[in-house]
Symmetry: C2
Subunit: 199 residues, 2 copies
């Protein structure tokens, strides 16, 4: 299969590339890529990426920023960070990508444990991640030509503990390589409308 | 209690005003209100409303537009309608309103059945409604001074069947007066982080 990984330079993205490369042609897109640069907050940038890459059998989105910070000081502008980046970036990849995705191809999006955990300062993630899962559930019944869509919801990565560990005290971390297996289940499997929790 | 109802001229809003008025001082805000006009897509308009109304004991948000339409033809711009209106409008009411909400006061937001129903053409609602519930869950553990937040998730209203009935074939409708009871449970009750489903 020809698989487009958006966010390929990130911790999850690198692990997904490593997991998929032995059996698939993997195209690596990221903000800093020399060959396939993309800024997911710019719909035109996503359009240019698909135009360059052409038809694909799978799109993996492991990408997007969210705002971390206390609710009592949060501004609407800060909250919009997650909407414009992690949510709309991935939604645009699907809305635009459905025209480039081959019959039976798959989208795999990335949410996160914040949907179901009571953790302070992650209200932006909680909203964005739930929205992504709601979007995928709704999209799964409407995509055409046998196209599929699933979501991977990882807990905090072992590799990310130096940065995010303080938010996730008491949570077991998982190595990115284990999270990458869930993307493989989505890409190589047959499911749609599924949320793969890696907790 | 002094209760601010945003979206007071809508089908749900009118029913909420009728339910709360016998025992509370209800301030009615809406896009078309002569005394308390508000455009929830404009943060400055929400700021002006709170400045005029002053401290309140409860804020009810029964407001916000979403995009209805097939996924296969949907643009990012159309999807953003629900984010800018129903989602960010209600989020802004909380982010800004927490400074005006008295100790122990409550926010009551409005999501909808689309979070859990497989219905075509409502992917925007599915994402937005889940985001609102995720936001409220996250906010419930961070609000200060005993402030509370809950969400009412109604199914299709009996009064709205002439417009939305075709999307909800096979679903039981509920009269707005019954939905209004859930808002009363939130405003007059003691719960926080709850989703009141009226299905």
């Amino acid at each position: 299969m020809k698989v487009l990984v958006v966010g390929a330079s990130g911790t999850i993205g690198q692990a997904v590339v490593k997991e998929l490369s032995p059996r698939h042609e993997v195209i690596q897109a990221s903000r800093s890529s020399a060959t396939h640069p993309v800024d997911i907050t710019q719909p035109g940038s996503i359009a240019a990426l698909f135009k360059k890459v052409g038809p694909v059998d799978a799109v993996v989105a492991a990408v997007g920023d969210i705002h971390f910070g206390p609710l009592t000081e949060m501004t609407g502008e800060q909250f919009r960070l997650g909407l414009n980046s992690k949510l709309m970036g991935q939604v645009e990849l699907v809305l635009q990508g459905q025209k480039y995705l081959n019959d039976g191809g798959s989208f795999t999006l990335t949410s996160g444990i914040a949907v179901d955990a009571f953790i302070r300062q992650i209200v932006n993630a909680s909203a964005v991640n739930r929205a992504l899962e709601g979007f995928a559930m709704g999209a799964a019944i409407e995509l055409g030509r046998g196209q599929r869509i699933n979501v991977v919801s990882p807990t905090v990565l072992t590799e990310s503990l130096p940065v995010y560990g303080p938010y996730f005290i008491g949570f077991e971390s998982v190595p990115a390589a284990r999270v990458a297996l869930a993307y493989a289940r989505s890409v190589d499997g047959a499911g749609t409308g599924e949320v793969f929790r890696v907790w």
